[in-house]
Symmetry: C2
Subunit: 268 residues, 2 copies
């Protein structure tokens, strides 16, 4: 079970320095790739059953520092899943209309419907991360949001949405290497923005904000997983395995046939 | 080029009896699978460029009779594409809120944003197919819709959305075989609805309605392709190839680097 290793006990105070972003368990690349391959096949077939059943939904939340691997995780973990049953939402800076509502308004609209897997590339957690680090709202406003988030996620969980939240944990050195690669490879230039540098400068502030998220919003009904993400193949393995285990425990079933289906005759 | 073979000349009167749903050109299964494999790799890389560029969108419309292969086409053609850049919309019977608006209102909301591939599993064409065959609105209402559709699609095309419309053409016998398979295989039962049988009974009415769609809404800016779909592997090949050719002609480019990117130094 992934649970124990990467999922801190709900209610416990998380210190990120206790989690090694370079961890790879007892895996090497080739052992991980074999297991990943088998897991992705399972994922594809579990997703088909989830969609056919149409009674439960899965919400996957991805958070990370820039270059932490959110896009790559989506691409690799879900690349064999039927896109018809998956909906990815990338949350950007809020629009004026979104800002004119509470911070969960735009998020609620994107919650996956029954039968679907929803993936949030960034999420409502930005409202207690970037917003907090940059003092975009007063302290008492963002302080209340941890409670708002827990209550919102509880509503979803009570309504048939299984929630899995992943913090893709990279080191500051690893981010530098990945930025460097974006600078050097022409087909990666578009992923580099000089605007990412001031964010990097506030690395320690972000880590503190993440620790609060991982401590205060890590619940039984919406657990956080802290994924060692310096090695992309290990990151993919942990995320895929966690999702597969969750779907297995949701145990979606093909719906029963209509009554008397065996008596149906198709006319010419 | 796929164009000439499966795309009727815009403005011409289409007779479906001139199109053989069992056609497979000069392909056998193994030749088609090899080409499909290469095309799907191209598709994945073209989609990455489309997403990175963020200036153009692709809208793929899929229409077919029940069991015509809409779901299977999406699953197979797009199974290697990054789900982050793809959004599938399945249009069902309209809700009361949707019915309280014009028929394009719910469709317009789902048009893909720049950088995205949008896939419509059924579409606004149902409003001149099922609606017409079953007299759900008066004739003068559905008659006007061909014009509304063309003008709507022209707006999209003028706004950077490339439109490809596929009619997956199966024979009535093939539908019977596929229905039979759904009756026989437990993991396919959920795809069978006895409600599909009255639709099958009106097969000829639907073919006439499709012929009008394919004749009246087949334009330079939003072409229809009539895909021989009795053989799933040939159907997938034609759809994938048409999409790849369209994306190649759209020729998306990675955006230029920010100025002075070569002078950037990433601090520790």
């Amino acid at each position: 079970m992934v649970e124990q290793l990467f999922h801190p006990k709900p209610g416990s105070k998380v210190r990120l320095s206790n989690f090694d972003p370079s961890d790879r368990g007892d895996y090497d690349r080739s052992k991980a790739d074999d297991e990943e391959d088998a897991l992705e096949q399972k994922l594809a077939s579990l997703q088909e059953r989830l969609y056919a059943e149409g009674k439960q939904a899965l919400l996957v939340v991805l958070q990370a520092m820039d270059a932490g691997g959110k896009d790559g995780t989506i691409k690799h973990v879900f690349d064999r899943v039927n896109p018809q049953g998956v909906r990815v939402t990338s949350f950007k800076a809020p629009t004026p209309e979104e800002l004119a509502h509470d911070f969960l308004w735009r998020v609620h609209k994107q919650v996956p419907a029954k039968g679907y897997i929803g993936i949030f590339n960034r999420s409502h957690y930005e409202d207690v991360l970037v917003v907090r680090v940059n003092d975009l709202v007063p302290r008492d406003v963002w302080e209340a949001r941890y409670r708002h988030i827990n209550q919102f996620e509880h509503l979803l969980a009570d309504s048939g949405v299984r929630i899995l939240k992943f913090f893709l944990h990279i080191s500051k050195d690893e981010q530098k290497e990945r930025f460097q690669e974006r600078l050097e490879k022409p087909d990666k230039h578009w992923k580099f923005s000089t605007g990412d540098l001031p964010v990097r400068e506030k690395w320690d502030d972000y880590m503190r904000a993440y620790e609060d998220v991982l401590s205060r919003c890590n619940t039984d009904y919406a657990p956080w997983y802290i994924v060692p993400a310096n090695r992309k193949w290990y990151r993919n393995l942990i995320v895929t395995r966690t999702i597969v285990e969750a779907l297995e425990s949701m145990n979606p079933q093909y719906p029963p046939a209509e009554p008397d289906l065996d008596k149906v005759v198709i006319p010419d």
